[in-house]
């Protein structure tokens, strides 16, 4: 099992005719993902990597039976692409693009929230269920199938964590990149619920960072609703307040959103917190050990 995507998921790429969209569609195909087509308005009828390109997501869904999409559309048009996918009934919408205006996401999220679709991102590396389906930009080879659910606001930091887990013999059920923006489609809490309900997931590793209160809220949810062992790492302890550290969402503002506060909340909820990014895999091992006693 797994969450969100598996070997049967049929995937579109919105923005497939662009250089980046094409590059990553190829990467997903090579991993074994069932890529079934792409969408670029105006380029319907063309073929990219032997996949059919459509003008609209609706037509693509009709002709290919796609139930997921990977969005590589430029930031000015990303919210629109998300809404088009939701409107066409796509179940899992994964928006990779970085640089989407925050108010565009405020407008889009309201509609996504009331639909039956799940949005991951934007500004995220994507989702991977190892050995079954990869939708995104992560290097497939570092992942191994196994019992750990992974969720993170970061991209490359997630790869570090996955690499550590795989080297410890702890494979992953599904890895989800939430995205680095202030407003993203799916929260830690949404994923905790999915992982808690997934029979194949036995433990959960989460990577957070400064900015906002998503980790604190997640900690409270774990305390009240999650029985599986959870470990975490929070990036940005060394970050100064008031400065955006790369991710639009990574900013300590008005004293809120510091790493120290997040770590305190997580520890209070019984979550094993890694002190160093080198220690993430080991922290998860400790969490499993603690639960067993």
């Amino acid at each position: 099992m797994s969450i969100l995507i598996n070997k049967n998921t049929r995937v579109l790429c919105q923005g497939i005719t662009g250089k980046v969209g094409q590059f990553h569609t190829k990467g997903c195909l090579e991993y074994g993902t069932k890529m079934v087509g792409g969408v670029t308005p105006g380029k319907g009828g063309e073929k990219v990597l032997d996949l059919p390109v459509f003008d609209t997501v609706a037509e693509a869904v009709e002709k290919t039976g796609a139930d997921a999409t990977m969005i590589f559309v430029p930031p000015a048009f990303t919210a629109d692409a998300i809404l088009e996918a939701v409107d066409a009934g796509i179940k899992t919408v994964i928006a990779i693009t970085e640089g989407v205006p925050v108010l565009d996401m405020a407008r889009a999220y309201e509609i996504v929230r009331r639909s039956k679709s799940t949005l991951i991102g934007p500004n995220c590396p994507g989702v991977i269920t190892p050995e079954e389906c990869k939708i995104g930009i992560m290097p497939g080879y570092i992942h191994k199938k196994g019992p750990v659910g992974v969720m993170s606001r970061s991209g490359t930091l997630t790869y570090e964590a996955v690499w550590q887990l795989s080297n410890l013999g702890l494979g992953q059920s599904t890895c989800v990149g939430l995205g680095g923006d202030p407003i993203v489609g799916t929260s830690f809490i949404d994923l905790l619920k999915m992982f808690q309900d997934d029979p194949a997931t036995e433990a959960i590793l989460m990577m957070g960072e400064i900015g906002g209160t998503a980790e604190e809220e997640a900690a409270a949810y774990v305390r009240d609703h999650v029985t599986k062992p959870v470990a975490a790492f929070i990036a940005g302890r060394a970050a100064p307040p008031g400065k955006r550290m790369g991710h639009a969402g990574a900013i300590i503002s008005g004293g809120k959103g510091t790493a120290t506060e997040k770590i305190a909340a997580l520890e209070a909820a019984g979550i094993e917190v890694a002190q160093s990014p080198a220690d993430m895999g080991e922290a998860l091992k400790r969490a499993i050990g603690r639960k067993r006693r």
């Binding site: 640089g99 925050v102 570090e160 060394a238 990574a250």
Partner: protein, 398 residues
């Protein structure tokens, strides 16, 4: 993106939000002329910098405050002389202070009450929220901490805007009466509209003044904008004040890099913001101090990486550099070639520790190993941190 108070007030004025009349002055003569043009008995001279706390702030080496009431043109010139081209130190600028390049000379105001009004995008509700408080003219973060019940909030949809009933609710919460209620309703709705129209990330009116006559006027205005939205606001882009920004950060942004200057001695070059923050954390954990945050991104090419090295090495405080790359989109071969290119172009005068992992890692390591460069290779994060902290300490000792 930040802008000055006088620029924020100009945006508000154009949008129909009441602000005091003010004139920007860049010399003491202009300040005196501004006083005369305003024609009142009273004016305020305010330093224009991108930091708050100007009222309580002081010019380095003098008693001149960042904001002062004046009663004559000569007085205005005197204050302007004391501020212009000097470093103003406030609670937000740090000890170095910030150079004042212009002042705002503003008409005086009849202040009956001082309120607070702010708009931000709230993550929890995934949309904009208007916050008001009767505790104006104070540090709102202190209010939020000590008396949060004195802050009232209303969420609004970006396009539907703040509804009249919401504005009335807030006005009555603030204890406004009579014509002030209608004035507040208009003020709040217009402010919310400006926030959305300009893709702001913060609009803060502190204090929002209620005059003796019951009118509302924005005595101070702070606006910052969503960097992600600036592509659709070329006019706002022109308001940018490069002199208020860190030169290295501007240079990095021009090259498409994400860079924040810090105070330490260990330069970092990393791909991905989360990993870059973690690398800073890692260095601190092992007793070092990061000199910067730098995210070279996933698609960075040899030129960008070379420019990144130039920026890091231009920082005089740098005693060692750590390159930490986990290649997903970014290939280890790309970074290895970039290191070689940078070495040749820029010349490395400090120890360099390189830790590579991910896509094409073996080829990447080989490229570095077979070159004749004195690069310190690292296996894993802890090894990398220990090596670079030691290298920086050794270098500093020489």
């Amino acid at each position: 993106m930040k802008i000055h108070e006088y620029q924020a007030k100009e945006i508000l004025r154009k949008a129909g939000v009441p602000v005091p009349t003010g004139i920007v002055a860049r010399t003491p003569e202009e300040a005196a002329e501004a006083f005369r043009t305003l024609g009142g008995k009273l004016a305020v001279v305010k330093a224009q910098i991108h930091a708050g706390g100007r009222g309580k702030g002081k010019v380095k080496g003098s008693e001149q405050r960042g904001v002062e009431l004046v009663r004559s043109a000569e007085d205005a010139a005197r204050v302007a002389t004391g501020l212009l081209n000097r470093e103003l130190v406030t609670i937000q600028t740090g000890e170095a202070g910030q150079a004042v390049r212009q002042v705002l000379v503003e008409e005086g105001c009849d202040i009956a009450r001082e309120l607070y009004l702010g708009i931000v995008v709230d993550r929890a509700s995934a949309g904009p929220v208007l916050m008001v408080s009767s505790e104006g003219g104070m540090n709102i973060e202190d209010v939020a901490e000590k008396t949060p019940e004195l802050i009232f909030k209303e969420q609004f949809h970006p396009d539907a805007g703040l509804q009249a009933f919401q504005a009335r609710k807030l006005a009555w919460r603030l204890g406004l009466k009579g014509k002030s209620v209608a004035a507040a309703e208009k003020f709040m709705k217009q402010l919310c509209r400006v926030f959305v129209e300009t893709d702001a990330s913060l609009v803060e009116i502190n204090p929002l003044v209620v005059t003796g006559a019951g009118d509302l006027i924005a005595l101070d205005a702070k606006m910052t904008f969503d960097d992600n939205a600036m592509f659709r606001h070329k006019d706002l882009g022109e308001l940018r004040d490069i002199s208020e920004e860190e030169p290295a950060e501007i240079r990095a942004a021009t090259a498409g890099l994400s860079y924040v200057k810090l105070d330490g001695s260990i330069g970092c070059l990393v791909n991905g913001a989360g990993l870059a923050m973690s690398t800073m954390d890692l260095i601190k954990l092992h007793g070092g101090e990061p000199a910067n945050f730098l995210d070279v991104g996933g698609g960075a090419n040899v030129d960008q990486v070379t420019e990144a090295f130039r920026i890091l090495l231009a920082d005089k405080n740098t005693k060692a550099v750590l390159v930490n790359i986990f290649g997903g989109i970014m290939r280890c071969t790309t970074i290895a070639n970039a290191i070689l290119a940078a070495y040749k172009t820029v010349g490395f005068n400090v120890p360099l520790v390189v830790r590579l992992e991910g896509t094409e890692v073996e080829e990447g390591r080989k490229i570095l190993a077979t070159s004749d460069l004195a690069i310190i290779g690292a296996e894993g994060l802890t090894d990398a941190a220990k090596k670079v902290v030691a290298a920086a300490a050794n270098n500093a000792a020489c």
